[in-house]
Symmetry: C2
Subunit: 343 residues, 2 copies
């Protein structure tokens, strides 16, 4: 079977695998959008693009939300859309300034649900201190959507002088996660009601900009920030190892995961490392900055359970390895679609 | 029947009328989004929000595109999404700096069509000199979308010191349209193939930022700029009359419309004044600036057929009147949904 060169799409039609945030998503984006739209701002494929505005640097980002169901324990599509786009900006170290909101509504959608979601967005926007400054609403016929899709874009001001990103990552760097992983993925799967999952798991959806701000004020040893949403921690680290041409060794025993998330993931046949998070960040920091960074994160309510979970190694480049009790195994970028429409 | 106060939605479910850009859209946006998300940036409900960035002013806008079909004579959803968001920025007098692109793709969508649309966006982006700086792709199950929906958001720099908007409009001002109206609406309806429409009508999709720039350099007498997309010229002028608390008198014989558009609109039972445009602008200018504004617009390829079509009057506030041969009639904001999913 001809698999194509890396980043080349061989499928004739788009499948759900292309939406899961893993290898297939990567290939679709590379071979269709990056190839056609090639330009220096787009190519880093970071969470936000950076634009010059006079002597300032602006971050600009977009995300569409198609989560199913629209309401789940701990949040809904509206709160997710506000926090998710704030987090995209935060991962570039930007202070979020404003969001846009674009709604695609299916004919027949209850106005009461739309009001509930708008109220939830208003609440998330107030809590984060980031206004929704502009919006758009479209309606499509019954059967041409799934209730509601929301796009949020955002602009922010970069307020540091670091070059954050995979290219700043060096062997020896430490990998910190800001708290227990997999909550959002499990909460959404539980809300689908098709499996007997732990009902008490809540989405971790939260705006991370003040956590990032605290971290960047504490140390200038931060190399790269990522939020492990679709595809989870494993996919983010695979992607980083690939882009930075380094190895990453994860120590399984150091990964914070709630017991109920582990149990639910077992029911799902899913590794929590691949489960989506909506209120966690991965920080790659220089070896000498690790303690300061950890202390800064832990001093913030959203980072109390922060932990060093991995180390950057020179070899093998592009490879993520998981050290378990007495063994090690390779971690791949998410290949299938175990959790479509998770955000 | 209880109709509610103006701007209040009485329906329990969203209908296609709420997506047509007229009165029902207005009420949905007012009673759900504006009420919940109330903040000073959102409330002007202009095409773009204005944000302060140091001594600069930024414009920020978003638009989702759900046009059906995806390809039509003179353009496709990709070109429309690029030009449409550029035009939102241009209407606030901003120089567009960058766009984002968010794709919601239905499972089974042909990869070749996605490539064709991405190429079309690349071409429109290059032609306009506005890069697509960041993007996002989501995939939903078959039957949960209609091929492809595209959101484009945009940021730009405001490069004038005018306060453009309905509040600047005064009785005596002249209303200019930059060229013949209704082409886009008719081209999309023709592409649906369900009526015998003039096959030669092409969408007028075009980026208007250089036309606006030429106009603003020529005169400081510009009061307000709008692009008459969904709902057409009639809806934009009704909206303006409402917001500015002025009357607007349109002289029918002065409206530029192609004969083939008039014939197609007759077949559709539609007034060209309500047909969508994607490459035209409405400029409200002070009486003494009208000649200069008209000359500036006509000196640009996209404004060669610009014409003064209406005048702002003190009475009756909120009312648009159409003067036809020997008669006059009131023009309402589009009430129904004669052309859903036109953009």
């Amino acid at each position: 079977m001809y698999l194509g060169t890396p980043g080349e799409i061989v499928d004739e039609r788009v499948t759900l695998r292309h939406g899961a945030g893993g290898r297939a998503s990567h290939d679709l984006v590379e071979s269709v959008f990056v190839r056609e739209l090639r330009n220096p701002m787009l190519e880093p494929l970071a969470d936000s693009a950076l634009l010059a505005a006079g002597r300032r640097q602006l971050a600009f980002t977009t995300d569409s939300y198609v989560v199913s169901p629209l309401f789940f324990r701990g949040g809904d599509i509206g709160e997710l859309a506000v926090n998710g786009t704030i987090n995209n900006l935060a991962m570039s170290g930007a202070r979020p300034a404003a969001l846009s909101a674009g709604f695609i509504v299916e004919e027949g959608f209850p106005v009461a649900d739309l009001k509930r979601i708008a109220a939830s967005m208003a609440c998330a926007s107030l809590r984060a201190g980031v206004p929704i400054a502009t919006g758009d609403t479209k309606v499509v016929e019954s059967g041409k959507a799934d209730g509601l899709y929301v796009n949020t874009s955002g602009v922010g001001c970069v307020e540091h002088r670091l070059s954050l990103g995979p290219l700043a990552v060096r062997p020896g760097d430490q990998v910190i996660v800001s708290g227990p992983i997999g909550d959002h993925g499990v909460a959404v799967m539980a809300a689908r009601g098709d499996l007997e999952l732990e009902p008490e798991v809540r989405s971790d959806t939260a705006p991370l900009h003040t956590l990032v701000s605290k971290l960047l004020r504490a140390t200038d040893g931060v190399r790269c920030l990522r939020d492990p949403t679709r595809g989870g921690v494993a996919t983010v680290l695979s992607d980083l190892a690939d882009a930075a041409e380094v190895g990453v060794t994860i120590v399984q025993s150091q990964i914070p995961v709630r017991p109920e998330v582990i149990r639910s993931c077992e029911t799902l046949g899913l590794d929590p490392l691949y489960a989506a998070n909506e209120g966690k960040l991965i920080a790659i920091v220089s070896p000498d900055a690790a303690d300061t960074a950890l202390a800064a994160l832990r001093s913030h309510p959203l980072g109390r359970e922060a932990a060093v979970i991995a180390k950057v190694t020179p070899h093998p480049p592009g490879r993520v390895t998981l050290l378990t009790a007495g063994a090690s195994r390779a971690i791949e970028m998410l290949a299938g679609a175990p959790m479509p429409r998770i955000c």
